[in-house]
């Protein structure tokens, strides 16, 4: 299909094309104009954006964890949190620049189109949308369009100020377009503008879209090569990789051509960019495997980021769906820590040791206890709770299942299971566990006779039935006889249905009777945070930490709440404390079980949380204007670098 003579011909044609710049003259001129324009007016601010992209990505992740307790519920409205955050972000300059850039671009697109010649364009809602973007009546924030209450006129921005002199929003596009006709030699140029700018708008919006999955390097390099094209440098067809293969297959004429184009920087940039892409692919592999497993309806570890993105999709359909069944084999087996020094301790003393020790010691002591006596439901129950605190949800579930297997009347193990299942989005199992709590309760098993709806199978029906059971249970113990466990169960249920005010009341009632339950304080705080009562949430988290200063989840939630209030320095200090505690915990575990087996915890654990903490810290550093420290969060992750300036 080809031969060398054809390539020679092609080469000639191509060189001619380079020289003549075939196509509308205006198109080429526009490229140069735009590049100049960009340089004069600050361009589109690439340097800050990639970091902000990642920061926003993490912020979205964290938004989901705002409401998390030691066993997390997913935030039902991560967008809301992020929007709040975006609205309060303490870097208004960058945000303003992004909106201006977008408005400028929209304005340029409008300028290139002559609506007068075309009735349809005059009436086009897309053109009207562009106009609104240009006039900053609407802007893109995060993943949404947001009406701007105060459209900002950028000083020194000639496009915006020029447009403001025009008649805004009255559809008399003809006025300003005639001004531009002199710049437009032919209408031909217009389409170049409209399509290229449409893409440009899209590209730059995607650049700052938090959900964007690009590596920041790639985005930068892509922009680089684009800009070079605009400057009239004709790109090589293909990057270095292609040139290599081309070299191998062809002869001298081709070689010349390749060499000529290889000298362009773009080839190298593209090569690098493609390599970046391959790195990304490798990291994506394990996610793909996890995804395929999920098709068989196995629950997955929520710390898996890519999974969470899909989760959001699916949760939208959850109204009728029941989530997943907890059929993950990891729930059926508990994986004990090797080299457990408590295995040689006196079994009678283990529960005592567990109650007195720190989290690591407690877990090891309890694991020793249940290995000695697998029928010890109380020990399994405690182990489950400690694993929840340790951020290891699947281990917690495994332990709790063992507890109820050994003794179905280990009542609050069912309650703890419900909490963990809800966080793993196994709603059916959560409802089943709560129902089991009721059925095994000596006090309340009777309510199953008086509440209707036990046959319903939809999520809505199950929810209403189980809530009904607990409401009935609460009625049997009114006023001073109030049962905190019933209230906690109701609090859990109301969180699931997003009835946060009710959940707050239930948890508060339970806390009156259990003021020392630090995990309950954390649940309470998370519910308050979900209902946007940030200051009350902070108070609740502080209560949790006063009781148990090493409770990392509460510290992390506290940091998020501080960020919500714009208190970035405090947030950073809480995050640094959390990291410091975590390091101590890891060291302790390493000492006890020996470093050869104390590898990274397979289920994420505190280690898995660590990633989120570092990312949130990085974002806080940017908010404080300390990009040097933000870099450290990425690279050396050295806590000592922060000790001079932060208190932790």
């Amino acid at each position: 299909l080809h031969n060398d003579a054809q390539f020679q011909e092609f080469e000639n044609v191509f060189r001619n094309a380079q020289q003549q710049q075939q196509g509308p003259q205006h198109g080429a001129g526009w490229h140069a104009e735009f590049a100049a324009f960009e340089q004069q007016h600050g361009g589109l601010n690439h340097t800050l954006q990639p970091e902000q992209i990642e920061a926003f990505e993490r912020a979205f992740e964290d938004a989901k964890k705002v409401s998390e307790w030691e066993s997390e519920f997913k935030t039902e409205n991560p967008q809301g949190w992020a929007e709040e955050f975006a609205a309060q972000e303490s870097n208004p300059v960058a945000d303003l620049e992004n909106k201006e850039a977008l408005a400028k671009t929209a304005g340029l697109l409008l300028e290139s189109v002559d609506p007068n010649s075309n009735e349809k364009f005059k009436n086009s809602s897309f053109m009207n949308f562009m106009r609104r973007l240009r006039d900053q009546e609407v802007a893109i924030e995060g993943n949404k369009l947001v009406e701007q209450t105060t459209p900002v006129a950028a000083s020194g921005d000639w496009a915006a100020s020029f447009n403001q002199q025009q008649d805004k929003g009255k559809g008399r596009a003809g006025d300003w377009s005639s001004e531009f006709e002199s710049q437009q030699k032919q209408q031909d140029g217009g389409s170049t503008w409209s399509t290229e700018f449409e893409k440009r708008i899209e590209q730059h919006i995607k650049n700052r879209e938090p959900g964007g999955m690009w590596s920041s390097e790639f985005a930068k390099q892509q922009e680089g090569s684009w800009a070079e094209e605009f400057n009239g440098v004709t790109q090589a067809i293909g990057g270095g990789d292609w040139a290599q293969q081309f070299n191998n297959a062809r002869q001298e004429t081709a070689q010349d051509w390749v060499q000529e184009f290889n000298t362009s920087n773009a080839a190298e940039e593209l090569e690098q960019a493609f390599q970046q892409q391959h790195l990304q692919n490798d990291q994506n592999e394990s996610w793909v495997d996890a995804y395929r497993k999920n098709i068989a309806h196995l629950a997955q570890d929520p710390s898996d980021k890519e999974w969470d993105a899909l989760q959001k999709d699916w949760e939208k359909h959850e109204a009728s769906g029941l989530g997943y069944r907890a059929t993950d084999p990891r729930y059926q087996q508990y994986a004990f820590e090797q080299n457990n020094p408590y295995m040689v301790a006196d079994p009678a003393k283990l529960m005592d040791l567990a109650a007195r020790g720190n989290l690591t010691e407690s877990i090891l002591a309890l694991e020793a206890a249940v290995q000695k006596d697998p029928t010890d439901a109380a020990a399994w129950h405690q182990l489950g709770l400690r694993q929840q605190e340790n951020e290891r949800e699947t281990m917690a579930i495994a332990a709790l299942l063992k507890a109820v297997e050994a003794n179905p009347k280990e009542l609050n193990a069912w309650l703890a299971l419900a909490v963990s299942y809800t966080n793993e989005n196994c709603r059916v199992d959560a409802y089943d566990s709560l129902q089991s709590w009721v059925e095994n309760s000596d006090l309340y098993s009777g309510v199953t006779k008086s509440v209707q709806g036990g046959q319903g199978r939809s999520a809505q029906e199950r929810h209403e039935y189980v809530t009904g059971l607990f409401l009935e249970a609460a009625r049997t113990n009114p006023g001073e006889n109030l049962d905190p466990d019933v209230q906690i169960a109701l609090g859990v249920l109301f969180n699931v249905s997003e009835e946060y005010e009710k959940a707050v009341d239930c948890f508060r009632a339970a806390l009156n009777l259990r003021p020392d339950d630090y995990m309950l304080w954390n649940k309470y705080g998370a519910t308050l945070a979900n209902s946007h009562n940030t200051s009350a949430a902070i108070e609740a988290y502080f209560n949790a930490l006063n009781i148990n200063p090493s409770y990392i989840r509460a510290r992390y939630n506290l940091a998020i709440a501080c960020i919500n209030l714009g208190q970035h320095r405090e947030a950073a200090e809480h995050l640094l404390s959390a990291l410091s505690l975590q390091n101590a915990g890891d060291a302790a575990r390493g000492l006890m079980v020996g470093s050869s087996t104390a590898g990274p915890q397979p289920d994420g654990g505190i280690g898995g949380m660590s990633q989120n903490v570092w990312e949130t810290l990085k974002m806080a550093m940017y908010m404080l204007g300390r990009s040097d420290l933000a870099q450290r969060c990425e690279t050396s992750r050295d806590l000592d670098a922060f000790r001079d300036e932060f208190d932790f």
């Binding site: 191509f14 196509g23 086009s124 949308f129 209408q187 879209e209 964007g212 067809i237 995804y291």
Partner: protein
């Protein structure tokens, strides 16, 4: 016959008639013109005969990011693949749950087109703004191959209807490239237009003929064996040409859509424009011929509507 269906809240990006069912039409859409927000895949049923013009929604699938293209599987009558603004490609089954049965995420940028192999039917292609084309099998969690050669966004990669391993791509780098899956480098490069080439399609009746559409407003007809000059250049659109489609029923009939908000039909042997469909009120992005009902065409546009109709030239 002229029927309209509103994809309310969503701007249309692509349409494809099912290769298995004469009444089934898939529509890929995005909110806010694809600039921001989510996407939706619509599966529509279009009545014929006495029910002609009746369009029902069989079901919809929602996605986190806008959808730019859709293609039906050639082996499974209920399955189809979508291309998304977040770089992901999803496989759906219209008889199964609300979420995709397979998801691939390798492209670093928007995926602008997906196209199923017509001969061996065992694989499909994706084209992305990350400048690459990828080859996929629905049974493999990773792409089978990545084709790098374009220096700019790849807007489409389309399988030849005649050869199991041959496909062509078009790009913002102004070129059209011919590829063979057995080789990582393009077999042929054509400098097709003086501006970005947004769309291409193979003629179903002449093995080597390819039709391209460009930002330069023109549609060109090429013989891939003679890359130095086009066979014909069709002018008429007032703005960039967004989509070209060769009729499966005629070797000379081509439909095209444009930012001039029209869909036009052409005879590529004479170069004449034979019809203008002017009913859309925003950019028209999608067009497809019904494989079974040879008078029926569907279009979709940013005016949130899908048109199914018989053009005058086919009556």
């Amino acid at each position: 016959m002229f029927a309209k269906h509103r994809t309310t809240g969503y701007n249309g990006y692509a349409v494809q008639w099912s290769p298995f069912f004469e009444h089934k039409l898939a529509v890929a859409t995005a909110s806010n013109f694809g600039l921001v927000g989510n996407g939706r895949l619509h599966i529509l049923n279009v009545g014929a005969g006495p029910a002609g013009g009746v369009i029902n929604t069989e079901r919809v699938f929602d996605t986190q990011d806008g959808l730019f293209d859709v293609c039906w599987s050639e082996v499974n009558e209920n399955q189809l693949v979508t291309a998304s603004g977040d770089g992901s490609i999803k496989l759906w089954d219209t008889t199964l749950a609300d979420f995709p049965i397979q998801n691939w995420h390798e492209h670093q940028r928007e995926v602008f087109s997906v196209n199923w192999n017509l001969v061996r039917k065992d694989s499909f292609l994706s084209a992305s703004w990350d400048n690459t084309i990828k080859l996929w099998s629905q049974n493999s969690p990773q792409s089978l191959q990545t084709f790098k050669g374009h220096s700019h966004c790849v807007y489409a990669a389309m399988w030849s209807p005649h050869s199991p391993s041959l496909f062509a791509s078009c790009s913002g780098d102004h070129t059209v490239k011919l590829w063979d899956t057995n080789s990582p480098a393009p077999v042929q490069t054509i400098l097709a237009h003086g501006n970005e080439v947004l769309t291409l399609d193979w003629n179903k009746y002449q093995d080597h003929t390819v039709v391209t559409g460009s930002v330069d407003h023109t549609i060109k007809v090429w013989d891939m064996r003679r890359p130095d000059r086009e066979l014909n250049c069709l002018r008429g659109h007032e703005y960039a040409v967004r989509k070209v489609k060769c009729s499966p029923h005629s070797g000379s009939l081509v439909a095209s859509t444009s930012y001039d908000m029209t869909m036009r039909m052409w005879d590529i042997t004479t170069g004449d424009m034979i019809e203008i469909h002017d009913a859309h009120t925003e950019f028209v992005l999608g067009v497809d011929f019904n494989l079974y009902r040879d008078r029926e065409i569907a279009t979709c546009a940013w005016d949130e509507s899908v048109h199914v109709f018989t053009p005058r030239c086919l009556m």
